[in-house]
Symmetry: C2
Subunit: 151 residues, 2 copies
DNA sequence: GCAGGATAGTTACTTTGGTAACTGTCCATT
DNA sequence: AATGGACAGTTACCAAAGTAACTATCCTGC
C-alpha cells in the first residue's frame, strides 16, 4: 500500500512552520502591545499606505472582511486609528492611523525587521533560494486560488 | 521612519501560503471523506506507525492533546479506529486503525501525493532549494521553539 | 424618480482551537 | 500501604475566525 510520511509532507510542514513562526513573531509585539495578528496586519497596512478603506486593507493583507472589521474596531478602541465616512460614497469609511497608532507602529517595525533578519540569517545561503521558491508558489497559488478572503 | 511592506514580510507570506495550501489540500480529501486537518493528521500518523497512544500522535503531528482527543473521538465515531486500554499502564490507550480506516487512508494517499507532486512541479527547479531551506528553518525553529504543542 | 441589483461594512450564529481544571492511574518516598 | 507528585486523557470554558444574513448606500435601466 502507498504510504506517506506526515513529517515530510509539504502541506503539513508549511503549516507547522507558519504556525511556529507566527507564534514566535507574536513575542515581538505581543508583550509590549498585546496585538493580535489581524490587528498587526491592519496597523502595518495602514502605516504602509496611509488612509484607506476596510475593503482595501482586506485585499492587501489577505483577510476576510469580518476579520478586518473586528481588528479595526479593536484598534479604534485603542485610539490607534480613526474613521471618517467618505463624502463621495457614504458606504465606505477612510481609516487613518492616529499619532498613537503611528508611534506604536514605529516601535514595532524595527523589532519585526530584526526578527525577520534573524530568521533569514539562520538560513544563511539558503535564504535567497527560499525567497525565490516562495515567490513561485505564491505566483502559482495565490492568483487563481480559492483564497479564503477572495470574493 | 522605518517601514515594512507586509506583502514581502516573511511571517506574513508563510502564513498566507500555508493557509492557501491547506485550503487547496482539503479539496483533496474533503469532498470524499469530509475530514478535518486534525483528523487527517491522526489518520496519517496511525497508518504510518500502527498502534500508538494519543500522546505519541500529538508529538509526531504537532498537535495539542485536546485537538488529538477530539480528532480521535471523531474517527472513533466513524469507526475508523478503535481504542484499547493498555494493560501495563491503564492511563494510556492504544489507538489502531480499523480496516475501514485503512481503506480510507489508502484512497486518500495517492491523491495527497499527487497534490504534493503538483505543488513541487509548479516550482520546477526551485523545488529542491525550497525543501532544503525548509529543513533549515525547521531545524532552527522546531527544536528549541515554544511550539504550541510543547508542554 | 424609482425598482432592483450590487457593494461596504457590521452582526448573529456556528465551528474550531486553546487554557485550565478535572479524573483516573502510576510511581517514589516514607 | 499511605501520600504526594507526575502523567494520559477528557471536559468546561473562553477566544478567534468563518458563513450567512442584515443595514445602509450606491448605481443602472426603465
Amino acid at each position: 500500500m502507498a504510504t506517506l510520511a506526515l513529517e515530510s509532507f509539504l502541506p503539513y510542514r508549511l503549516n507547522r512552520l507558519a504556525s511556529v513562526v507566527s507564534l514566535k513573531f507574536r513575542a515581538v509585539y505581543g508583550p509590549h502591545h498585546d496585538l493580535t495578528v489581524p490587528e498587526w496586519r491592519v496597523l502595518a497596512t495602514l502605516a504602509q499606505f496611509g488612509t484607506m478603506t476596510a475593503k482595501a486593507i482586506g485585499a492587501h493583507s489577505a483577510m476576510h472582511k469580518t476579520k478586518v472589521s473586528r481588528a479595526v474596531r479593536a484598534l479604534e478602541e485603542r485610539r490607534w486609528l480613526v474613521r471618517s465616512r467618505s463624502e463621495l460614497d457614504r458606504r465606505e469609511e477612510g481609516l487613518t492611523l492616529t499619532a498613537a497608532g503611528l508611534r506604536s507602529y514605529a516601535e514595532i517595525v524595527p523589532r519585526a525587521l530584526a526578527f525577520e533578519a534573524a530568521l533569514l540569517a539562520e538560513l544563511g545561503p539558503h535564504a535567497a533560494p527560499l525567497l525565490t521558491a516562495l515567490e513561485r508558489m505564491e505566483a502559482g497559488l495565490l492568483d487563481d486560488a480559492p483564497r479564503p478572503e477572495r470574493r
